[in-house]
Symmetry: C2
Subunit: 186 residues, 2 copies
């Protein structure tokens, strides 16, 4: 699929997706976390076409999430291991896991996170490392880290004021009067 | 792109990706969190082709992350709003944002999370809601929630024992002796 590159965008989510924003990449990382390291094992686990798997593995190596390591010289064979950057992706996978469990429960069987010591079910939430405060709506906002453009400033902040028909159209600077008169409902 | 459906897989990450595992979907959700609601505003923000945007918005509505709401009757116009399921996706976006900020810092400008009250920079980590314990390697594991298959059990757990050339090939039950003799390095 042809797509626009987001690497230069100031939004860090866009930059993340530049490297992992592809279905297979995230599943490859998931498998890497559970110990899968070899091409054939990834292929088998994912049921993915070899050329697609090669492409995704190479791109994860290029992005510095996996490294390729020779584990056998004769014949030469490599495996793919998580780098520190790859290991640091764990919270994203865990957040996806928790969300999937909550909203798309498995039919009949599934997996859940449990505490290693107590065996109690874990319900992961995001908190600030320093204060321990939960990141809930209203408790945080996005700020420019250096000189972020106005367009990126409100990303992920709370939803804005409710907009109404006429005023909102008039308030939209990017739409010309000619465009405004055309039906744009879809 | 033709792809295998993961909806029936027991892994909750795979189930999540069934609904949001597409580049544009995650960026649409990001924009929805920062208050974007209208087709033209999404299109403008993302620079995405209208037919792709229509497809992704419809699929997010079908998956129950967005709802379509009439905001103007004459002419009929709709906007897209986050449902509770959509709002609950926030931790995934915040985890992506933090990871992107750490590993792919913006050149010159960017955004960061700050505490609304203190203005201090936030470093989001995952903890268990009940115990407050950080989800770090070794502190948690995956367990079957009902009757998960063996294949899904170790997902996301710590990396397994190191495998060596000969023993690992011999230990791989899925590879026949004939396959084992073929070069499989890529």
């Amino acid at each position: 699929m042809q797509r626009k590159s987001f690497a230069g965008m100031p939004c860090p989510i866009a930059r993340s997706l530049e490297h992992v924003g592809e279905w297979w990449s995230i599943l490859i990382l998931r498998d890497a976390f559970r110990g899968v390291r070899r091409f054939e094992d990834f292929r088998e686990s994912l049921g993915v076409a070899p050329n697609m798997l090669t492409r995704r593995l190479n791109s994860l190596v290029e992005a510095g999430l996996l490294r390729r390591e020779l584990y056998c010289e004769h014949p030469p064979r490599h495996e793919y291991r998580l780098t520190e950057r790859g290991k640091d992706f764990r919270p994203v996978l865990l957040a996806l896991l928790a969300w999937g469990n909550r909203h798309f429960p498995a039919e009949g069987e599934g997996v859940m996170l449990v505490d290693t010591e107590s065996g109690a079910r874990i319900d992961p939430i995001l908190v600030d490392r320093h204060t321990g405060r939960a990141l809930e709506r209203g408790s945080y906002e996005l700020a420019p880290s250096l000189a972020a453009s106005a367009a990126t400033r409100p990303a992920l902040a709370d939803e804005p004021r409710r907009r109404k028909c006429a005023s909102s159209d008039a308030a939209s600077p990017a739409r010309s009067p000619a465009q405004r008169d055309q039906p744009k409902d879809r």
